[in-house]
């Protein structure tokens, strides 16, 4: 499908910008990027093919993370050394993810229940459904635990996270070791940093998500970064991973420029509106709502896939 003509024309711009405003508003309200909602909803609501939705959403994400990084840099929340080291792993991961998406695009169609359907749609729908289910249940469980803790129904000592193999990666002595003074880390293996970058970059390149929901906790729990530095460095990393993602997807013709502009306008305004409303709602309730929203996303993806099988 031609990336320049799949939209009806200029009159689609306000609808897409409004769509960006809603997703940006939800992202700002829940404190996340919203990429995991943006791509499947672009496919479900506007019929945008997954490869073009991923490429264009990365463009939108590049703009949003650039704006956020400019603001976080002002507060000194970015560990630039960590960010630049991680870029190597991130770029490799983005390219690997984008190549897998391309391979899925080339596979063509398969016959399912007597209907021809393209493999990319089936695989991406299932991957997004699994991702949304994972995020949704994690958020709902965590928010319910927080609510019970606030009521004193949970023993705080018993509820504390146990040391795990994940946090043990911090002590891995695998050459070369690097120090990160801005994060207060004396020595950590470069391979751990590259591994975090690769895994989140892979998600970025294949799914068009920022990967902050994995990178952020990884920076805090694996490397031991302070939370504010993890947030700032995560956004700085998203700026590069999405920028590289846009570049590699544009070589494949997956970036729709009008779609990028419309989403960027909508999400820039929406994110600020959503973030200002977050302060009025309680934290656990916000996370509970986020989890429920992810489940709604799963249902919508399933309905869309079912409808494709019917027609």
């Amino acid at each position: 499908m031609d990336a320049g003509t799949f939209l009806l024309g200029d009159h689609s711009f306000p609808f897409l910008a409004f769509f960006g405003l809603i997703i940006g508003g939800l992202g700002g309200f829940f404190g996340v990027g919203g990429g995991f909602l943006m791509v499947p909803m672009l496919n479900v609501a506007f019929g945008v093919p997954y490869n073009i939705a991923v490429g264009s959403d990365l463009g939108q994400m590049c703009g949003m993370s650039t704006a956020a990084s400019v603001r976080h840099a002002r507060f000194g929340n970015i560990d630039f050394k960590l960010g630049f080291l991680m870029i190597v792993g991130t770029a490799t991961g983005v390219e690997a993810g984008a190549q897998i998406l391309e391979a899925l695009k080339r596979v063509g169609t398969l016959s399912l229940f007597g209907r021809e359907i393209d493999v990319m749609t089936v695989v991406m729908s299932l991957v997004y459904a699994a991702l949304l289910l994972f995020l949704g249940q994690a958020m709902v469980r965590e928010s319910l635990r927080s609510m019970r803790r606030a009521k004193g129904e949970v023993d705080l000592a018993a509820d504390a996270p146990a040391p795990s193999a994940v946090s043990g990666l911090r002590t891995l002595k695998l050459w070369p070791m690097v120090s990160l003074p801005a994060s207060g880390i004396e020595a950590v293996s470069l391979w751990v940093i590259l591994g975090i970058g690769f895994s989140t970059g892979f998600l970025s390149g294949m799914l068009g998500v920022g990967g902050g929901f994995i990178r952020m906790p990884a920076l805090v729990y694996i490397l031991g970064c302070p939370t504010v530095v993890a947030v700032g460095t995560d956004l700085f990393e998203i700026m590069f991973s999405s920028g590289y993602g846009v570049l590699t997807h544009s070589f494949k013709g997956n970036v729709h420029l009008v779609l990028v502009l419309a989403l960027l306008v909508g999400t820039t305004i929406g994110a600020q509106l959503g973030a200002s409303y977050t302060r009025r709602a309680g934290g656990p309730w916000v996370r509970f709502g986020f989890g429920c929203l992810a489940f709604v996303g799963v249902i919508m993806v399933a309905i869309k896939l079912y409808a494709k099988l019917l027609h």
């Binding site: 499908m1 031609d2 990336a3 320049g4 024309g9 200029d10 711009f13 992202g27 700002g28 829940f30 404190g31 996340v32 990027g33 919203g34 093919p49 490869n51 073009i52 463009g59 939108q60 994400m61 590049c62 703009g63 993370s65 650039t66 704006a67 956020a68 990084s69 400019v70 603001r71 002002r74 695009k105 920022g210 902050g212 947030v231 956004l235 998203i238 700026m239 999405s242 920028g243 544009s250 070589f251 494949k252 013709g253 997956n254 970036v255 729709h256 420029l257 009008v258 990028v260 502009l261 960027l264 820039t268 994110a271 600020q272 509106l273 959503g274 973030a275 200002s276 977050t278 302060r279």
Partner: protein
């Protein structure tokens, strides 16, 4: 609307078909458009925060 028409036209060659060869301007605009708008939004918000002495949307992830 001319900008939209220009962007639409620039992306017209973009195709999901195998063997696609992008135009150099399409590649440049694909990366320059979001970066330029992001820098504009970021510095505008910083300026507004400095002038109005408020913190706008501090909890927004992106």
């Amino acid at each position: 609307m001319d900008v939209l028409a220009w962007l639409q036209d620039l992306g017209r060659d973009a195709s999901a078909a195998p063997g696609f060869q992008p135009r150099p301007l399409y590649l440049v605009v694909s990366i320059a458009l979001p970066v330029a708008l992001g820098l504009f939004a970021g510095f505008t918000l910083r300026l507004l925060e400095r002038v109005l002495r408020v913190e706008i949307g501090s909890r927004g992830g992106h």
